[in-house]
Symmetry: C2
Subunit: 261 residues, 2 copies
């Protein structure tokens, strides 16, 4: 099977113009098939502040009321997505920016929760792998904004890590998929404040051990749970590492490799 990289880029990278520009240069240089999933960054929060739209965050998840959905649709699927695509084109990488409504690529449903109303937040049901593949075979890099839809006309704000994981899982029927979570740290760290304490390999038993000792930074837990779930569903490799090191991450020379036991 041909190789496919599914690469998630975190919001802190998107907020830093120089880092983003260098990351996109490295991304454009990847010769294999590739998909980029981007998060949101602080621009949506800043725009909400300027517009006087109150933001509520519970357990690290933004509560998405109707006004907030408007803002994230504009910022994620509009400003960030289109500027990334234009930058990739300038790096001679043909790219197409989509949200999950486009081509019905990511079908989701509004999250149901017994107590909490997350608002217009989507949980992913299905990936249209045929359509995504029809773009990849034309050597188009597909760039996803973290907005999905429910086929009833409703757009939904959706976690970008989850989208990356679901796309990676879905595409593993067609490709040998490597899923890369790139962000501002060098990988999964034993000491969250020391970038030299990267764990080079993490398997489920070691992960359980570190969790029991509270050695894993809370913000990493959903990312790692996603990573292990992806491995179980056919993704061949998951790597977590620094966006600036993308060229090396792709080669498997740096970052944290998430592996099975």
């Amino acid at each position: 099977m041909a190789k496919l990289y599914v690469i998630k880029i975190g919001g802190n990278i998107i907020d830093d113009e120089a880092t983003l520009s260098s990351f996109l240069k490295d991304f454009a240089a990847i010769e294999e098939k590739k998909i980029l999933v981007h998060g949101g960054g602080k621009m949506a929060t800043r725009l909400a502040e300027k517009l006087g739209v109150q933001q509520q965050v519970i357990d690290g998840r933004r509560i998405t009321d109707a006004e907030t959905l408007k803002i994230v649709t504009m910022v994620y699927a509009g400003f960030i997505n289109k500027n990334i695509v234009a930058a990739l084109q300038a790096n001679q990488c043909n790219a197409m920016g989509l949200c999950g409504a486009d081509g019905d690529t990511i079908l989701a449903h509004k999250r149901k929760h017994p107590v909490l109303d997350y608002g217009y937040v989507g949980d992913v049901d299905a990936i249209n792998t045929d359509l995504i593949d029809s773009l990849l075979v034309k050597n188009i890099a597909v760039v996803f904004a973290p907005i999905t839809h429910d086929q009833q006309g409703q757009l939904l704000n959706t976690n970008a890590d989850t989208i990356a994981q679901e796309i990676a899982k879905g595409m593993s029927d067609l490709y040998e998929v490597e899923l890369i979570y790139s962000f501002e740290k060098s990988g999964v760290l034993l000491d969250a404040n020391d970038d030299t304490t990267v764990i080079h390999e993490l398997n489920p038993s070691y992960y359980q051990e570190l969790k029991a000792k509270n050695k894993i930074f809370a913000g990493m837990l959903p990312k790692l749970d996603n990573a292990f779930a992806a491995l179980k569903s056919g993704v061949s490799k998951v790597i977590i590492g620094k966006a600036e090191d993308l060229a090396e991450l792709v080669k498997g020379h740096t970052g944290t490799s998430i592996i099975n036991d």
Copy 2:
């Protein structure tokens, strides 16, 4: 050759939720291949006002400074484009929303003008007809926001009428193209205030005659110049009419037909 409809929808329709919804239902029902090009509407102007970004309009064209480009990218390529796509999906019409940077579909250059700096405004150089056609053959309706790029990483605000015309011209090598400009009036009117004075057929000599008599509303002139230019470049038919009448416009039963002498 198979038939292709390239349909432009004006900003006033986008601003009216009920009319837009009914228009999209009619658009979804068109059985032939179809492309939708949408304008902006008042949302960008309102957002600019809220954010304190001064808007300057000269000869009906918005001067697009860097902050205005951000706003139109968010509103046109983000909010409007994605909501139209989601609505079409809800009407069982598979659709994909693009700007000109996506798949390098619309290449443009920043407008050069001897006196006036229009800012980040683009004039179209080329349409990637192969890529657009590869979506159409999958029965995907392509929905264009009026934002293009210059292949150097710069997004550009571009007139939606012009985009519709350039796409219609480009696609005429592959399809029998019918270009429909749909807006809030019933067609080209002899009396701008009387919707019953629709001109049913307009050829170049009648157009010159009406222009000489100042019978054509100034706002219609660029639209009509575009329409005649499109006919000369291979487009088989141009129709101007009311968005609410789309189902009838498509059949050629209403609106103004622009024809050669």
